[in-house]
Amino acid sequence: MSTVSSFVPDIDNLAEIPKDADGAVFAAPWEAKAFALVIHLHQRGCFAWQDWVDVLASEIAADKARPAPTPYYLLWLAAAERIMTACGLVDPGALVAAQAALQAGQLAPTGHHDHAHDHGDHAHPH
């Protein structure tokens, strides 16, 4: 995939991103996934980094008007959904349908769980 840039955007220009001296900090796997999807699509040239910074900043600015602050990566995810639908990468209707399907899948008694399994005794001595 020669079209994929190896350029890794500088996250320092993202105000308020949770990080420590080593870099970005994620409180849960979904946060890291949401983070990586945005970086990946930018690297593939789907949108300019500055456009992302602007969309995210507008989500953060809108949140300032709310009585209680929204966790950072919820704003990140909302901004990601916005930029991806705005650029035509993702169809808004398809997104809602995919969410509904995932929700329905796990409500159905025989729903598909790719993680579901019942282990018995798990130590394998060798």
């Binding site: 080593d22 870099g23 990601a80 398809a94 995919a98 282990h119 130590a123 060798h126």
Partner: protein, 200 residues
């Protein structure tokens, strides 16, 4: 008990998964590349929690005893929680046993202590082969376990996550906890590496 294997996804997890699945479907996202990116950014933040647990256990025998007796509670003492209800079990490497962890059927991983799983941890090759031929897999990681030492493979269950307490390297007597923690790697806590003295 709710579990990471089959607990319902939260609304936010569903939103992320829906987005990802559409992007993968359209060929816009390569799942392996996304995992590699997470690795790049996540640095050592996650594993650093586990490293602190290990360093404390090396320094404080009473803490080590609590850690081996009830991993979840002892890890929570250091402020590391966030598990989904599953228990942490810490398995200690000893003179006659080396431990390695896996989740054979998916990729359950003690992320509050070890961060996000490395890409290979989730690979079908690692998951199936480490059980069948642990010594062979470890040697591919550059870790040769002598024949007289038993290799024990710990497979995550729906309710238990494992973490390895590696051996403290020789020559680190008198070191501070922070110095010790800096030596502890993610791979050592998975069991595919040993902790080594920096001069080794």
């Amino acid at each position: 008990m709710s579990t990471n294997h089959n607990r319902p996804l939260s609304d936010v997890e569903i939103r992320v998964k829906a987005l990802e699945s559409l992007l993968v479907e359209k060929g816009l996202v390569d799942a392996a590349a996304v995992d590699a990116l997470i690795d790049t950014y996540e640095h050592k933040v996650g594993p650093r929690n586990g490293a602190q647990v290990v360093a404390r256990a090396w320094q404080d025998p009473a803490y080590k005893a609590r850690l081996l007796a009830d991993g979840t509670a002892a890890i929570a003492e250091l402020g590391f929680t966030g598990m989904q209800g599953e228990d942490m079990v810490v398995v200690e490497n000893t003179l006659d046993t080396h431990n390695v962890i896996v989740c054979t059927l998916c990729s359950c991983y003690p992320w509050p202590t070890l961060g996000l799983p490395p890409v290979w941890f989730k690979s079908a090759a690692y998951r199936s082969r480490v059980v069948l031929d642990p010594r062979g897999v470890l040697s591919e990681f550059g870790l040769e376990i002598p024949a007289e030492i038993r290799v024990q493979v710990w497979d995550s269950t729906s309710e238990i996550r494992y973490m390895v307490l590696p051996e403290r390297p020789a020559g680190t007597e008198g070191w501070h906890e922070a110095q010790l923690a800096a030596l502890v790697t993610r791979d050592a806590m998975i069991g595919v590496a040993k902790v080594t003295h920096p001069n080794e």
